[in-house]
């Protein structure tokens, strides 16, 4: 399986792209729970109610990570992936936490 799809790359790329998607507002789609409707674009609040980006951020991260997990093992030397330092599995979650805090800090501001 690792020859065609790297689970390690998938995890790291998911975390990195999710963080970028949250910080720069790149949801793949929006969901409007008031009307139970998906949309590729943000729609007017007055008509459709509040839009949810969270599902779209996950989709952005998962899709990009799946592509990276297929391509990177073909493009990068195997030893680079095998010698990945364990610290990256701390750093990426910390970056995700920081990205989430950046997006949600408005709730702490009056």
């Amino acid at each position: 399986m690792s020859r065609y799809f790297s689970l390690r790359i998938f995890s790291l790329a998911f975390g990195i792209v999710y963080t970028l998607a949250v910080v720069y507002k790149w949801p793949l789609f929006y969901y409007f729970p008031a009307v139970k409707q998906f949309s590729l674009h943000d729609l007017p609040l007055a008509t459709f109610g509040p839009g949810m980006s969270w599902f779209g951020w996950i989709a952005t991260g998962a899709l990009a990570a799946a592509i990276a997990a297929v391509l990177f093992p073909k493009l990068l030397p195997k030893r680079w992936i095998d010698q990945m330092p364990p610290g990256v599995f701390w750093l990426v979650p910390l970056a995700m936490l920081a990205g989430g805090f950046f997006r949600e800090q408005e709730w702490l501001l009056k």
Binding site: M1, S2, L7, R8, F10, S11, L12, F14, G15, Y18, V22, Y31, P33, A34, K36, G49, P50, M52, W54, F55, W57, I58, G61, A65, A69, P86, G87, F89, W90, V92, P93, M96, L97, G99, G100, F101, R103, E104, Q105, W107, L108, K110
Partner: protein
């Protein structure tokens, strides 16, 4: 229906926290521990045996939570907003990001537990399991508090 799913979400989370805590404590053992004390007995488990269960329970708990999330946005979040409880909303929003941290790590976590010999990559396995355990515990406690927030407030 949402209440039933919320209860199922809580129950799978309880099973998940049990499994990941057994594994999370056992992964830090350097050698087989004597099993006199409760904590030693708790961590004296073969950690690899929990990996599949943790992945299945995490995905199930996450999926149930994601399914009822829109109902939270329409009901609970609106009520919290009208009560001016912005910090509670912040904590819940962060809970959702933290849940994705765990979700993103699952692939690497499973790889290092099930595809790599257990004597290799110990440090990575410890990091992944510890981060996953921390996310599960944080979300269980915060989710429980937020679920009861109307009673507390």
């Amino acid at each position: 229906m949402d209440v039933v799913l919320l209860i199922c979400h809580g129950l799978t989370a309880m099973a998940l926290v049990g499994a990941i805590t057994h594994q999370g404590l056992s992964v830090w053992r350097d050698k087989p521990a004597p099993t006199r004390l409760f904590v030693d007995k708790f961590r004296a488990v073969p950690g690899a045996g929990y990996a599949n269960a943790v992945v299945v329970l995490y995905i199930t708990t996450f999926a149930l939570g994601a399914y009822i999330y829109p109902a939270y946005v329409m009901d609970a979040k609106r009520a919290l907003f009208e009560l001016g409880m912005r910090k509670a909303i912040f904590v819940f929003q962060m809970k959702e990001h933290i849940a994705v941290i765990g979700l993103s790590l699952l692939a690497a976590y499973w790889y290092f537990w099930r595809q790599v010999p257990l004597i290799e990559h110990m440090a990575t396995r410890r990091m992944l399991t510890t981060v996953l355990m921390a996310t599960v515990w944080w979300n269980l406690v915060i989710g429980h508090i937020l679920n009861n927030i109307r009673g507390i407030a």
